[in-house]
């Protein structure tokens, strides 16, 4: 990787942690995991059965939280203009943001899945499957969040629109992620394929959105 790319990733990663910004999705993730037992009731068997799917849905919802902070602030502050003037491609900028976002978003979620699994009374086996699934699926989630963030940057009520855009597109990740909980390898492969497609495509979608936002 070029040093400029590393430099950009380091900046975005640093900014992701400002004011505990990177902790918000984790707090949200844990909150959803805590709320579910209240809604469903203290039936340990039932919780253990639906718990893996709950964690996946929680991760999906947590992915929505940082969307508005991914691209819009840099568009507003002219940082994107400065980078483009320096000859950085819009897709490169977007790729750096994708990597930085995944680094700030995924590891805390993976860690938080451990206490969340305990709250839902998941077996170790299920927890391991959830963790493997999340490890494979979070790059795809991060890519979706970035592309959506770039598309809605500058719009009023961007957060709500971002949710409407992202959630339907994340359905394949949810299906194959939750599907992998049964222990099949097939679902994991499909999850990896979806995640890969999203990671490969998102920088270009986000880059085009950034370019379109200049005019």
């Amino acid at each position: 990787m070029s040093s400029a790319l590393v430099h950009l990733i380091a900046r975005d990663l640093r900014r992701a942690w400002i004011g505990g910004g990177a902790l918000l999705p984790v707090a949200f993730f844990l909150l959803v995991a805590i709320l579910f037992p209240f809604a469903i009731g203290p039936d340990a068997k039932l919780l253990a059965r639906v718990g893996g799917g709950v964690l996946w849905a929680a991760a999906l919802l947590a992915a929505l939280i940082p969307i508005e902070r991914l691209v819009a602030p840099d568009m507003a502050s002219g940082v994107i203009d400065q980078l483009l003037t320096r000859g950085q491609a819009a897709a490169t900028i977007a790729f750096a943001k994708l990597v930085a976002h995944w680094l700030a978003f995924a590891p805390p979620i993976l860690l938080a899945a451990v206490p969340a699994a305990a709250l839902l009374d998941l077996s170790t086996e299920t927890l391991v499957r959830v963790e493997i699934g999340l490890l494979i699926g979070t790059p795809g989630l991060a890519a979706l969040a970035l592309a959506t963030g770039a598309l809605v940057a500058g719009l009023r009520g961007a957060g709500a629109i971002a949710g409407l855009l992202l959630l339907p597109l994340a359905v394949p990740l949810l299906i194959f992620g939750a599907g992998s909980l049964d222990g099949g390898v097939g679902a994991l492969k499909l999850l990896a394929a979806v995640s890969l497609v999203l990671v490969a495509g998102a920088p270009f979608v986000a880059g085009a959105a950034i370019r379109a936002g200049l005019d």
């Binding site: 400029a4 430099h7 950009l8 900046r11 900014r15 400002i18 507003a76 502050s77 002219g78 940082v79 203009d81 400065q82 980078l83 483009l84 003037t85 320096r86 000859g87 200049l214 005019d215």
Partner: protein, 197 residues
């Protein structure tokens, strides 16, 4: 360094200017004038490659440094560190102290950007341009928010930059001296309107 060849700029379906041609040589300067909304900032953004011309060609591949109305420095960082982000990206990490000095900002190097006043932010943005080491400066209303002392520092910095072979394209509606500059008056370049019936 920068050539505009019969460039037409269209924003939001409206032609701002048509058939604009000029060439900026090493050590050269061009001063874009005209009333608000006539396309001065759009011309600067065209030169920066942020907009594409509707017609015509823009040539020149020297590195550019862009000054807009945004400071584009991370608010939470100390000024010197915020400048260092861009300078490192430009491979010009050693220029920061000199750039701060040129705008009389050396005493503020350890102050977070968010605490700077309007004029200080403007000077910080100009320091960012100087520190970039880019041969071509694109300055959009650089004099906004500057007091007379700072305006003098800006003119000195521009003169030094041109003396060392750099070029400056500047848009300004306030008087600022740019000796021997090409004058681009956009008010003279309004697109030909169809006669009203």
């Amino acid at each position: 360094m920068l050539t505009f060849d019969t460039v037409t700029c269209v924003r939001g379906g409206r032609a701002l200017f048509e058939g604009l041609s000029f060439t900026l040589e090493q050590g050269g300067g061009a001063l874009v004038t005209g009333p608000n909304g006539i396309g001065k900032s759009s011309l600067i953004r065209l030169a920066a490659g942020l907009l594409a011309p509707a017609a015509g060609r823009i040539a020149g591949d020297t590195p550019r440094a862009l000054l807009t109305d945004q400071v584009s420095l991370d608010e939470e960082l100390r000024l010197a560190r915020a400048l260092a982000f861009w300078a490192r990206l430009d491979g010009a990490g050693g220029n920061i102290a000199a750039a701060l000095d040129a705008l009389a900002l050396s005493d503020l190097a350890d102050i977070p950007v968010r605490l700077l006043s309007t004029g200080q932010r403007r000077r910080a943005a100009i320091a960012r341009v100087i520190a970039s080491g880019a041969p071509l400066w694109l300055l959009d209303e650089p004099a906004n928010g500057l007091d007379t002392t700072a305006l003098g520092l800006l003119e000195t910095a521009i003169a030094a930059h041109r003396a060392s072979g750099g070029a400056v394209l500047m848009a300004s509606h306030t008087p600022i001296t740019l000796p021997g500059a090409i004058a681009i008056d956009l008010a003279q370049r309004l697109p030909q309107l169809e006669p009203a019936i």
